[in-house]
């Protein structure tokens, strides 16, 4: 995405507010879209596709959290639980009421949005880190409910198997099929989020984040917009949960614990708060880092030792490297990977004549 601005002259406000203000950006986005839709899924093997699927699902979840935390400034530690709400809603609808996949997907999102806005109510009075911990309460309460209310959980195992998703009679049961399905949903999510921040609602979110008292004075109903932000964010989370459920074939609350919530928070902080691109980078980074680290550590360790001899050391080394890399990136660039990316593109923007 080397955005050369040379020769781009904006003549109207519309041009300035366009999704891609620079023609070249539009074509790079188009180029990336073509690559992820055509050559990649055709050439990649099942393993690469399975990893790509995990990344794509994570991107959607990270986007949702970024809308709430990055754009509206409300830190949430309950994101994982909102995903599980979507997951169980879809699983119940799909198995007990035999709803088709796309309806279950939407319903999961809507239900999560409703639950999410309910747990957003404390944001009326509670702010900042206190709110973060209050959402943690949501995490534990939802977890407990899924675990103990048998009508929801479907029995002591608290897990519901779902059939493979089917669209118009065609059953999607390969990694490649799932890849396309997930990619389409995620692309819609990205485009919707990009457009959200070109509307009145999106700008209200940003105003609340930047200064809530000032926002109220200029006539923004803070409580309403905060709840709306919780709802939209949880909708994304719910859809993410549904995708996880259909991807794995099972809804199980143990996939959506506090660890998940913290992981998603890590994604958006590492990627960049208040940035769509940041959500994508962060989700890819946090999902791929442990996998890549494993390859690297195994690759290097395997040169000198047999894996089984040093496995105990290697796995702990991965944890240390994971934490170390996070801290390293924070120190290098506290605004996240998106800023790092911007630094690089800024450099090329005027290259080769930097002055």
């Amino acid at each position: 995405m080397i955005n050369r601005e040379c020769g781009v002259l904006k003549t109207s406000y519309e041009a300035d507010m366009a999704l891609y203000p620079i023609p070249l950006a539009r074509s790079t986005v188009l180029g990336i879209a073509i690559i992820v839709f055509l050559p990649f899924p055709v050439l990649a093997n099942d393993y690469l596709l399975s990893v790509a699927n995990l990344v794509n699902i994570a991107i959607l979840g990270a986007l949702g959290l970024n809308i709430l935390t990055g754009y509206t400034g409300q830190v949430s530690l309950g994101h994982g639980a909102f995903m599980s709400v979507g997951a169980y809603t879809a699983a119940i609808l799909a198995t007990r009421y035999h709803l088709p996949f796309w309806l279950a997907l939407a319903a999961g999102g809507v239900m999560a949005a409703a639950v999410g806005s309910f747990f957003g109510i404390p944001s009326l009075r509670i702010k900042g880190l206190y709110l973060a911990i209050a959402t943690l309460a949501g995490q534990f309460i939802i977890e407990w409910s899924l675990n103990h209310i048998t009508w929801i959980s479907g029995g002591i195992q608290s897990s519901i198997y779902v059939p493979r998703p089917a669209l118009g009679g065609y059953v999607i049961n390969t990694q490649r099929g799932m890849y396309y399905l997930i990619l389409i949903v995620v692309s819609l999510g990205i485009v919707a989020a990009m457009n959200l921040f070109r509307t009145r609602v999106g700008r209200a979110f940003v105003a609340i984040r930047d200064h809530d008292v000032a926002a109220e004075i200029i006539g923004i109903n803070i409580f309403r917009y905060k709840l709306l932000s919780f709802a939209i964010s949880s909708f994304y989370a719910g859809v993410t949960g549904v995708l996880y459920t259909y991807y794995l074939g099972i809804a199980n609350y143990e996939q959506f614990t506090i660890v998940t919530s913290v992981n998603f928070l890590a994604m958006i902080i590492i990627g960049g708060l208040g940035s769509i691109l940041g959500s994508i980078f962060g989700a890819a980074f946090i999902t791929l880092l442990p996998i890549l680290l494993r390859y690297v550590v195994e690759g290097i360790g395997g040169l000198f030792f047999t894996i089984s001899d040093v496995a105990g050391v290697l796995t702990n080394l991965q944890l240390i490297l994971f934490g170390g890399l996070i801290i390293f990136f924070l120190i290098v660039e506290p605004d996240g990977l998106k800023k790092l990316w911007r630094n690089i593109t800024d450099y090329f923007r005027v290259w080769p004549f930097p002055y």
């Binding site: 990893v51 002591i156 195992q157 794995l248 074939g249 496995a311 991965q318 990136f329 290098v332």
Partner: protein, 416 residues
């Protein structure tokens, strides 16, 4: 400065990618038989993985040293998934990509998530002593093998032991203290059935995760319910906490039975051996170093000029690792013997289903895995903590097969 660091980090990222792509593991020789091993050496259940996985590796190493399985070497791919489901799925996909013919699963949530995939891909996976109990039914779950006593069999065995040792006492009271997650609740229906049938009073007490604090529940047990026996089904650090708390309220330790994940040396070590004295534990693999196969492994290390690994001292988990590896190897051996090469997941599944009378001189129970019974009978042994070690109290036994069959039928009828 800022810019240079940025460049450096990009360079590092590219290096990482290149290293990942030229990973030597990707190219694999066709004559090797690949077995996938999910393992947790980090994450919430790492205290088990660090002993269990070396046991698995050591057994396979021994088999390979002795010429492999019917002349074919086995290669184990170990992947640590930190008990996280997405990483577990990724690990499984990598096993599949590298041609694994069987997979040793790890962690109940992972077993749940991977069950549909194993069936679709026709790769057998094992979940010894954990996972879903109804996977015993091989007709419903053709590619999942509990291969050792499931939580249901552990429940029936513990009740059998109690009834045998209370000599027809009237008004017997049993408390069941369990970790409050799906794995912890798994045996509840069996206990309820048994309470009705044998006429004892059952009350259950839940310990919420992370299970580091349960004094209120133990007080409730000791001061309000006052049971004759306590059965505990706990994970992680909570078994040792339960030992300490039960000792504190003065409950007799020899009337406490722990399920398989609360019955290791580590649990007694954490609580203090003297505190745990008398505590009973269920085992699905032999405990102690007094087995020929373990001596062979120790000798293999000495022949290399090394000391046997420290992990061997934690015999409960290490021996379980050996058991799991031995059953995988035996299944592959049966597969080659009966169906020839190349080895496939389908053949190994049938290999598992023909395991019989494979005991490694006492380390493995007298299993008999059949297409209907993937658990192999549900054999356990009860051990007791005596003078700083686990001492056997019973021989291999199983109990109430009819109750389990009934529960399996109900589970099949309910579907899900």
């Amino acid at each position: 400065m800022r810019k240079r660091l940025a460049h450096l980090s990009v360079a590092v990222a590219i290096l990482v990618l290149v290293l990942a792509l030229v990973n030597p593991e990707v190219t694999w020789a066709t004559h090797e038989i690949v077995v996938g091993l999910q393992c947790d050496r980090t994450g919430p259940v790492q205290t088990i993985g660090v002993f269990l996985c070396p046991g698995f590796h050591d057994y396979v190493k021994l088999v390979n040293k002795k010429g492999g399985v019917e002349g074919h070497k086995i290669r184990v791919i170990e992947i640590d998934h930190k008990y996280e489901v997405p990483l577990g799925v990724e690990a499984y996909e990598r096993f599949k990509q590298q041609g694994a013919v069987s997979v040793s699963l790890y962690g109940t949530p992972n077993v749940y998530a991977l069950t549909p995939r194993l069936t679709e891909d026709k790769i057998p996976g094992t979940s010894p002593g954990f996972g879903r109990a109804d996977a015993t039914d091989g007709t419903r779950f053709p590619y999942v093998f509990p291969i050792a006593a499931s939580y249901w069999s552990q429940a029936t065995a513990s009740v059998k032991y109690i009834l045998d040792h209370s000599k027809g006492k009237k008004g017997l009271k049993i408390a069941f203290l369990y970790y409050d997650n799906p794995a912890g609740r798994e045996p509840l229906p069996i206990f309820e059935k048994l309470a009705k049938r044998e006429g004892f009073e059952l009350r259950t007490f839940a310990v919420p995760p992370p299970g580091i604090e349960m004094s209120a529940q133990i007080l409730d047990i000791a001061q309000r319910f006052k049971p004759d026996w306590v059965i505990t089904h706990l994970f992680g650090r909570s078994p040792s906490v339960s030992m300490k708390e039960l000792r504190r309220v003065g409950f007799p330790m020899d009337h406490v039975i722990g399920f398989v994940w609360g019955a290791a040396e580590a649990d007694a070590e954490a609580a203090g051996w003297s505190t745990a004295e008398g505590y009973l534990g269920i085992q699905f693999a032999g405990v102690g170093s007094d087995f020929p196969i373990l001596k062979e492994i120790a000798k293999m290390y000495r022949d290399e000029g090394k000391d046997p690994p420290r992990e061997m001292n934690s015999t409960v988990y290490y021996n379980r690792g050996v058991l799991i590896a031995a059953l995988h190897t035996e299944a592959i051996r049966q597969a080659i013997k009966r169906f020839g090469l190349p080895v496939t997941g389908e053949k190994v599944k049938k290999g598992f289903e023909s395991i019989k009378g494979f005991t490694l001189e006492g380390l493995v129970p007298p299993l008999e895995i059949t297409p209907n019974d993937h658990e192999g009978g549900g054999w356990v042994r009860i051990y007791q903590i005596k003078g700083g070690k686990w001492a056997p109290m019973t021989d291999w036994f199983k109990a109430y097969g009819d109750v389990i069959q009934e529960a399996l039928k109900e589970a099949a009828a309910k579907g899900s």
